[in-house]
């Protein structure tokens, strides 16, 4: 049972808080011989797999190191161009490490504001009157739980599909939010949450769940 992350979205749909907890690292290292049987896409910011996924290296994964040397953008840490290294037969065999890209802060903000219309449309398309928005969303790799307060703030958690008791956990986060964010005289509504006490207490809560289970909070 794993909780992957916590998000708080304000009334107007902006991301005001996020906490990554236990994001698994998906990394695959493999020795390649010439010519490389993956189609790579060279972008100034990243080198990613465009076609030919196999052995755990999937489309969308980015190149993180060559022969143990880290890759930043499209150059290695030693200053060599990645494309030249990979296309030159003399450099082979090469050990390439690929990993699933981590979400950037920008992407998180983008995703959080994307959830807002989904939430609204779900209640508009309801076959029953007076439906709420999305409360639980399940995919094969995770389950997203959302709790909307009366004032329109949304608390979301991304957890493993088998994780139970998330509604209790969400209400507990709401409690922490009211205690340590709303009562903070320096906090203004709708703005990103930067409160040490809130961070510390949330961290404590997550640790407590990991140790003693969700029933004891």
């Amino acid at each position: 049972m794993v909780i992957y992350g916590v998000y708080i979205v304000s009334k107007s749909g902006g991301l005001i808080f996020n906490h990554d907890h236990n994001i698994p690292k998906v990394e695959t290292e493999k020795v390649f011989s010439f010519p490389i049987d993956l189609t790579l896409e060279y972008d100034p910011k990243k080198v990613s797999v465009a076609f030919g996924q196999k052995d755990g290296i999937n489309v969308g994964h980015i190149l993180t190191s060559i022969n143990g040397v880290a890759v930043n953008g499209n150059t290695t840490e030693e200053g060599n161009d990645v494309k030249e290294l990979i296309e030159n037969e003399g450099n082979y065999p090469l050990t390439l490490k690929f990993s699933r890209p981590k979400m950037t802060t920008n992407e998180k903000i983008f995703l959080a504001s994307m959830f807002y219309p989904l939430f609204a449309i779900a209640s508009q398309l309801s076959p029953e009157p007076k439906s709420s928005g999305i409360e639980v969303l399940e995919a094969d790799t995770f389950k997203l739980h959302c709790f909307q307060t009366l004032t329109g703030v949304k608390f979301m958690t991304v957890a493993e599909t088998t994780q139970t008791g998330m509604d209790v956990f969400l209400r507990k986060i709401y409690e922490l939010y009211s205690d340590y964010v709303l009562k903070n005289p320096f906090y203004s509504l709708e703005m990103p949450i930067r409160c040490e006490l809130f961070d510390a207490n949330l961290q404590g809560l997550l640790e407590q769940i990991e140790k003693t289970g969700i029933t004891n909070i």
Binding site: V26, P117, Q124, S126, E128, P129, S132, L137, A139, V158
Partner: protein, 139 residues
């Protein structure tokens, strides 16, 4: 337990079939508009799920629930999308949709030589589809 309605989309987002049974509230827009809104929402949910997922997803989005209903989603490798709205307590809807695909869709639409890939108008399919939904324990 209840089944409210069923949408079937092709891989381009065209509505191929729509059926409804115990739907209480209409969305207040035309059926075409509603289908577009539904497909648009599913498209966004799919990309949302792919991005927010901590691991590489295989099937991706399965269902969502609100306090009144649950929307279940099943996509075949050929890109046909089955969307069914049920109440929140229904279980194993995914298996039901797979059954629906193999027993009704393949039998009465894919094997129909007159079907040209557009909206399904076959009366036999409508009748069989209706029967299949009504005899299920979820209905």
């Amino acid at each position: 337990m209840t089944i409210y309605n069923l949408y079937i989309f092709d891989k381009y987002g065209t509505l191929l079939y729509y059926g409804e049974w115990n739907r209480i509230k209409q969305s207040g827009i035309t059926k075409e508009e509603e289908a577009k809104l539904m497909y648009g929402m599913l498209f966004s949910i799919k990309s949302f799920v792919n991005k927010i997922s901590p691991n590489d997803p295989k099937e991706g989005f399965l269902y969502y629930k609100t306090n009144k209903y649950a929307l279940h989603y099943y996509e075949t490798p050929s890109g046909i999308k089955f969307v069914i709205n049920t109440d929140t307590v229904s279980t194993s809807v995914k298996e039901f949709l797979q059954q629906y695909y193999s027993k009704i869709w393949v039998e009465y639409v894919v094997k129909n030589p007159l079907w040209n890939g557009t909206a399904v108008t076959s009366d036999l399919f409508k009748q069989k589809s209706d029967e299949f939904i009504k005899q299920s324990i979820m209905f």
